[in-house]
C-alpha cells in the first residue's frame, strides 16, 4: 500500500514550501485563504453593524442632541483623518501592485508609508479624544459638558466613543498586520506568484478604511 504522502509529494506543485500538506495546488490554497479573509471581513462588518444600529436607534430618539453634538466635533481634524486614511489605502494597494511586479523595495517603502499614515491617524484621533476629556463630552454617566443641554447628548458620545474606539482598535490591529507583512517583504518572502499575504493585509486595511468612511459622515457631517 502506498501512503498518501508519497503520492501527494509526486503531484505537480508539491515541492513548494509555502504549500500546506492538505492543498494540491498554490491556486487552491490562495483561493481558500482569500475566501477565509472575505468571510472574516464579513464578520467585522457585522460587528460594527451593531453599533451602527445603536446609532440609528438613538439618532431617532434624540435627533436634536445628535445634530448638536456632531457640530461639537472638530470637522477639520475629522476631514484630515479621512484624507490620511484614504491615502493610506492607496499606498497599500500600490504596495500590492509593486510586489506583483517584484519591486520589493518599492513595496516595502509603500507599506512603511501606510503604517506612518495609520500612526498619524491615531495621533490626530488622540488629540480629538484629549479635547473631549477636557470639555467633558464623555459617554453615559460621565458626560458633563454644560454647553450641550439636549438630553441624549451623553448617548451620542457613548456611540461616538464606542464606534471610534473600536475603529481605533482595528487601526492598531491593521498596523500590526501590515508590520508583519512588511517584515515578510523585507525578508524577501513574497514575489509575483506568491503575494496573497500582501493582498490580504491590504484587504484588511481597506476594511478599516471603509468603516471610517461610514463613521465620518455619520458622526461629523450629519
Amino acid at each position: 500500500m502506498s501512503s498518501s504522502e508519497a503520492t501527494a509529494h509526486a503531484a505537480p506543485g508539491r515541492g513548494d514550501p509555502h504549500l500546506a500538506h492538505h492543498f494540491d495546488t498554490q491556486d487552491q490554497q490562495d483561493g481558500a485563504v482569500r475566501l477565509g479573509m472575505w468571510l472574516f471581513l464579513g464578520t467585522e462588518v457585522l460587528l460594527f453593524a451593531g453599533l451602527f444600529l445603536g446609532y440609528t436607534v438613538y439618532r431617532h430618539f434624540f435627533h436634536e442632541a445628535f445634530h448638536e453634538c456632531s457640530r461639537a466635533l472638530s470637522l477639520p481634524l475629522g476631514t484630515l483623518n479621512t484624507v490620511i486614511l484614504i491615502t493610506s489605502s492607496l499606498f497599500v494597494a500600490l504596495a500590492h501592485v509593486a510586489i506583483k511586479q517584484d519591486k520589493q523595495k518599492q513595496a516595502a517603502g509603500l507599506l512603511v508609508l501606510t503604517i506612518l499614515c495609520a500612526l498619524a491617524f491615531l495621533v490626530i484621533k488622540s488629540f480629538e479624544y484629549a479635547h473631549k476629556f477636557e470639555v467633558g463630552e464623555l459617554p453615559g454617566k460621565w458626560f458633563s459638558n454644560p454647553e450641550i443641554t439636549a438630553p441624549g447628548a451623553n448617548l451620542y458620545f457613548t456611540v461616538y466613543f464606542l464606534a471610534t474606539g473600536l475603529h481605533a482598535f482595528h487601526v492598531i490591529v491593521g498596523m500590526s498586520v501590515l508590520a508583519w507583512v512588511l517584515k515578510g517583504v523585507l525578508k524577501g518572502k513574497y514575489g509575483p506568484r506568491n503575494n496573497v499575504a500582501v493582498e490580504l493585509g491590504g484587504l484588511y486595511w481597506h476594511l478599516v478604511d471603509l468603516v471610517w468612511i461610514f463613521l465620518f459622515p455619520l458622526l461629523y457631517l450629519i
Binding site: 430618539f61 434624540f62 435627533h63 436634536e64 443641554t149 439636549a150 438630553p151 441624549g152
Partner: protein, 351 residues
C-alpha cells in the same frame, strides 16, 4: 367539549373575554400538533417493522418525490400555519386595541411588587387590584427598575413592563373572583414571589368600593403609598402637579387656559389639535407621553418647536402622573366644585 379540553390541558379558568377566543385556537392548534407528531412517530415506528432488513446487503428502490408531492408537503403545512397565524393575529389585534370606554389604571412594577394607581383621585394599592366585572379595564404600565411582565393566567394576558417606557394592556373580566397576577419576566432574587391579585367585583359593588376608598383619609385607604411611597403620599394627580412644578413644565404651559410658550394644559386632554403638518390629532395619553419624550415630533400649529425632550429626565411613573394631572385639568371641574363621581366615569376616548 371546551371544558374537557381545558381541564385536560390544565388551563386555568377562562375569566376574561379574551380567554375564550385564545382557548379555541389553542385547542385546535394543540390537537393538530399532537396528531401530527404522534402520526409521524408511529409511522416511522411502523416502517421499522414493515420494512426491516430481510437479508444483508439488500437493495432498495430509488424513490423520488414528484412535483405534486413536493407542493403538497410545502402547501399543506403552510396552509395550516398561515391559518393559525391569521386567526392568532386577528385575536391579537383585538387584544391590543382597548375599547374606547375602558377605565384606566396605572400599574408600576418594581422589585418585587406591583403597585396600582387609579386615575383621578386614587386610591393607590400595592399587590391588590380591584376591578369591575364586565367592564373593560386598561392598564398603563411601567417599571421603576428592571423589566417585569404582568401576567394573569386566568385572563390569558401578559405584557412586559419596561423602565423608561409605557406599555398597555387591557382586559374585560367576566367572572367576579380573585385571580393571581404573576411576574413572568425574570427580575432577580424574588422574581418567583412577585405576585399580586386581581379582585374582580360586580360593577355596582366596585363603584361603591371606589367611593368608599376615595372618601376615606389617605391613611385609611387600601394603601397610601404613591409611586414613590417613601417621599410622597397622595393621589397621582397631586404627584403629577408636583412634578410639573419641579420639572419646569409650568414655565411654558399654563393650567388656566391662557396661551403661553406652549399650549395650555387646561382641557388639553381629548382636545382636537391641528398640527404644523395640517394633520388632525386628538391629545390622548399616547400623544401626551409622546410629546414629553419626542416633543418636536408633532408640533401643534402656531407653536414653535422649542420644548426639549424629557426622555431620560422623567421617570416613567412621573410621566404617568403628569398625564393624570393634565387629564384632571378640565375647565368644568375648575369652575365648579369637582363632582366626585365624574372623575371615575369611564373615560370617553375617541377611538
Amino acid at each position: 367539549m371546551n371544558e374537557i379540553m381545558r381541564r385536560l390541558l390544565w388551563l386555568p379558568d377562562e375569566a376574561s373575554t379574551f380567554a375564550g377566543a385564545v382557548d379555541k385556537l389553542h385547542f385546535f392548534v394543540v390537537t393538530v400538533t399532537m396528531l401530527a407528531s404522534v402520526a409521524t412517530g408511529l409511522l416511522a415506528f411502523g416502517f421499522f417493522f414493515k420494512y426491516r432488513e430481510r437479508r444483508p446487503n439488500q437493495s432498495t428502490p430509488i424513490i423520488v418525490p414528484s412535483v405534486k408531492f413536493e407542493l403538497a408537503v410545502i402547501g399543506v403545512p403552510l396552509a395550516f400555519f398561515l391559518a393559525w397565524f391569521f386567526q392568532g393575529y386577528r385575536d391579537y389585534i383585538w387584544y391590543t386595541t382597548p375599547p374606547a370606554n375602558a377605565t384606566d389604571i396605572y400599574v408600576m412594577g418594581k422589585k418585587w411588587m406591583w403597585k396600582f394607581s387609579y386615575g383621578g383621585d386614587g386610591p393607590n394599592a400595592i399587590g391588590t387590584l380591584h376591578v369591575p366585572a364586565n367592564r373593560p379595564v386598561r392598564l398603563l404600565m411601567t417599571s421603576r427598575d428592571v423589566i417585569h411582565s404582568f401576567y394573569v393566567p386566568d385572563f390569558r394576558i401578559k405584557q412586559d413592563v419596561l423602565p423608561g417606557r409605557y406599555t398597555e394592556t387591557w382586559f374585560e373580566a367576566t367572572k367576579p373572583g380573585r385571580y393571581q397576577v404573576l411576574c413572568a419576566e425574570y427580575c432577580g432574587t424574588w422574581h418567583s414571589q412577585m405576585w399580586g391579585e386581581i379582585v374582580v367585583m360586580p360593577g355596582p359593588e366596585f363603584d361603591q368600593w371606589l367611593l368608599d376608598q376615595r372618601a376615606g383619609q389617605n391613611a385609611a385607604r387600601v394603601d397610601s403609598g404613591g409611586d414613590d411611597g417613601a417621599s410622597f403620599h397622595g393621589s397621582l394627580v397631586e404627584y403629577g402637579k408636583r412634578i410639573a412644578m419641579a420639572q419646569g413644565c409650568l414655565k411654558c404651559h399654563s393650567v388656566t387656559g391662557e396661551p403661553h410658550i406652549g399650549p395650555t394644559w387646561l382641557d388639553l386632554y381629548q382636545r382636537r389639535e391641528t398640527l404644523e403638518t395640517g394633520e388632525q390629532i386628538v391629545a390622548d395619553e399616547a400623544y401626551l407621553t409622546d410629546s414629553m419624550i419626542d416633543p418636536r415630533g408633532k408640533i401643534v400649529k402656531g407653536f414653535k418647536p422649542v420644548m426639549p425632550t424629557y426622555k431620560g429626565r422623567l421617570a416613567a411613573p412621573e410621566a404617568a402622573a403628569l398625564v393624570e394631572f393634565i387629564k384632571s385639568l378640565r375647565s368644568t371641574s375648575l369652575e365648579n366644585v369637582p363632582s366626585k363621581e365624574a372623575v371615575y366615569e369611564p373615560v370617553n376616548r375617541a377611538r
